[in-house]
Symmetry: C2
């Protein structure tokens, strides 16, 4: 399976089951206040171009909302009840992407110019904050879907908690920048917050909406956390060995940017002697050139960082399935989860 990321991977089929209703709910979630601000958000979501004209095929994967709805259905709940939470998760995620792109000064995302690149940083910053609020407003609709007030409030608490973890993870990520040796454990704790918290919350909240069984709900939380880590480790692999045509990033892109990335952390921890010295010298530079990237890639091969990274992603996927092994699920769920896991660690984008 180690080289299976080279295969073409498509999202699991259950994504299509929710697609049309999820898209409607997301669209309704962005209010139309008559300001260009809302056009900016529709552009960012991939629904229109920078002139406001509808586009097709430019949306994101919508992983988090799909996981939330899926978890609700998997435990025997009515999946439509989870739509407002699913929308909130997608908006929080996208709010963080908008701000991330500003922070990193990234000019492209999904082969399109980023929001700040088109409209400037001040407007993009404000638009991100607006999207964050749209998430809160979507959560208010949970009660309209027939959910009890207690559950609706609990869902809000979980989302807030995950959001705080995400922010703390982003902060840790920034704090680790420029540090030469972050332990593998520190790295995993950081991505558990930065990426894992929201993905875990998606599964957790979906199960909460669909089930009364606390053990089941907890199992989904755990499963989601493992999936989140698998997702991020794979994302890190794509940032280094991804197909340029699909990811839009050249090989080694995240090395050049000195990003905190699992393969880099792993290589730092396992390189020995002269290789270790070279790495330290390269990562002490302010800017890395092509030669540096090439050298780091060679040392990565030396310590087998690619195989180890992929193995970790696979292990975390396994842990995600394992977490749900004792839970009573509606038929076909396990097959669909396996599809999902395979997608997460074979996808090329």
């Amino acid at each position: 399976m180690v080289n299976s990321y080279l295969a073409v991977a498509t999202p699991p089929s259950f994504f299509t089951r929710y697609r049309s209703e999820l898209r409607d709910a997301l669209t309704r979630g962005i209010s139309d206040g008559g300001l260009d601000l809302y056009d900016m958000l529709r552009y960012h979501m991939g629904w229109s171009d920078s002139q406001g004209r509808p586009t097709a095929g430019t949306e994101g994967k919508a992983l988090r909302p799909n996981l939330c709805i899926f978890a609700c259905e998997a435990v025997g709940g009515t999946w439509r009840k989870a739509l407002p939470a699913a929308v909130a998760l997608e908006f929080i995620h996208n709010f963080s992407l908008i701000h991330d792109d500003i922070q990193d000064e990234d000019e492209e995302r999904h082969h399109r110019p980023t929001l700040w690149y088109v409209w400037g940083k001040p407007k993009a910053l404000v638009a991100g904050n607006a999207l964050r609020l749209m998430a809160d407003m979507s959560l208010r609709r949970l009660r309209g879907e027939g959910l009890s007030l207690t559950k609706a409030l609990e869902a809000c608490e979980l989302l807030s908690g995950a959001y705080l973890e995400m922010i703390e993870g982003q902060y840790l990520d920034l704090s680790y920048e420029g540090r030469l040796s972050i332990s593998v454990d520190d790295y995993l704790a950081m991505i558990g917050k930065k990426t894992g918290a929201l993905i875990s919350c998606a599964m957790h909240v979906g199960a909460l909406i669909g089930s009364e069984n606390r053990d089941t709900i907890e199992a989904f939380r755990k499963s989601g956390l493992a999936l989140g880590q698998a997702f991020q480790v794979w994302d890190d692999c794509l940032g280094i060995w991804g197909d340029e045509e699909v990811t839009g990033k050249p090989v080694g892109a995240d090395i050049r940017k000195k990003k905190n990335s699992f393969p880099v952390v792993y290589t730092m921890a396992h390189a020995q002697g002269h290789d270790k010295e070279i790495l330290t010298t390269i990562y002490s530079k302010t800017k890395l050139d092509d030669g540096d990237v090439k050298q780091v890639l060679a040392i990565m091969e030396q310590v087998d960082a690619r195989t180890s990274s992929q193995r970790l992603a696979e292990q975390q996927c396994g842990a995600a399935l394992e977490a749900l092994s004792g839970v009573e699920l509606v038929p076909r769920v396990m097959e669909e989860l396996i599809d999902l896991g395979n997608f997460l660690i074979t996808r090329k984008y």
Copy 2:
């Protein structure tokens, strides 16, 4: 009264009535997750220096929380019940200041280096987002103060609504940048959202927590909106004619920055002939120099922009008092409100 802004102005005495408990509540509102992130927030709030050592005399005016608590007390409510909402208002306001400073690349606020200037933009952006969440978390404490669930939820709705208006106002403000003629009405609508919404919300929510009378609650909303506009117009005057030693900004600072400011909007609308041409030429430049600022100041004097701006601030203060004229209030409230109004339009900072 036109020149009274030259007098030393101190906050109204009722601010001191709440000071100690408000400060405690604000302090508790910033969680201590063991990350430097929270030290950044305490620095921004003016409670500590950049090394985490406690400081004194560096806090902001805390206008919004004071108004919220005051409104609750004024209608006969138990003011402590309003503390969680007061804290949320102060955090939302400060979140917006953190992001504003990043947007405007302002290096100083209240005579101290801004958050981004000390810690860099990426961390400051994240810290602002964390403070925004602390506001939500504080609102959850409303129920702990014995408030009914219905009222607590209504307070949350009002805060969200005000937050959205604030964001829309910020967006409009950015959209107006570089435009040569914004009407006075457009300007007032913009500041009504950007600044007025949160100040109005402070009065509105305070009254909601303290009273059952819908007319009273509505009167406070209206009064707050007028106060907010008075506050902003006066702020605009300080940005142009303020005392450099107190504001930390040189005379004409907001002219040089081409900020949307009432005196500028007023002058654009009232300058005639040659003056109008000069203004258009100057405001078409990318960067203004000392000579440009001096010329704009001279044209402002020509059209009496200073007197007109101050008169508008006074009128809005009058409207704020007028809005409450039919409302049954506990004794001394009107006197304290007059003190507040005088402070808002005579303060030097």
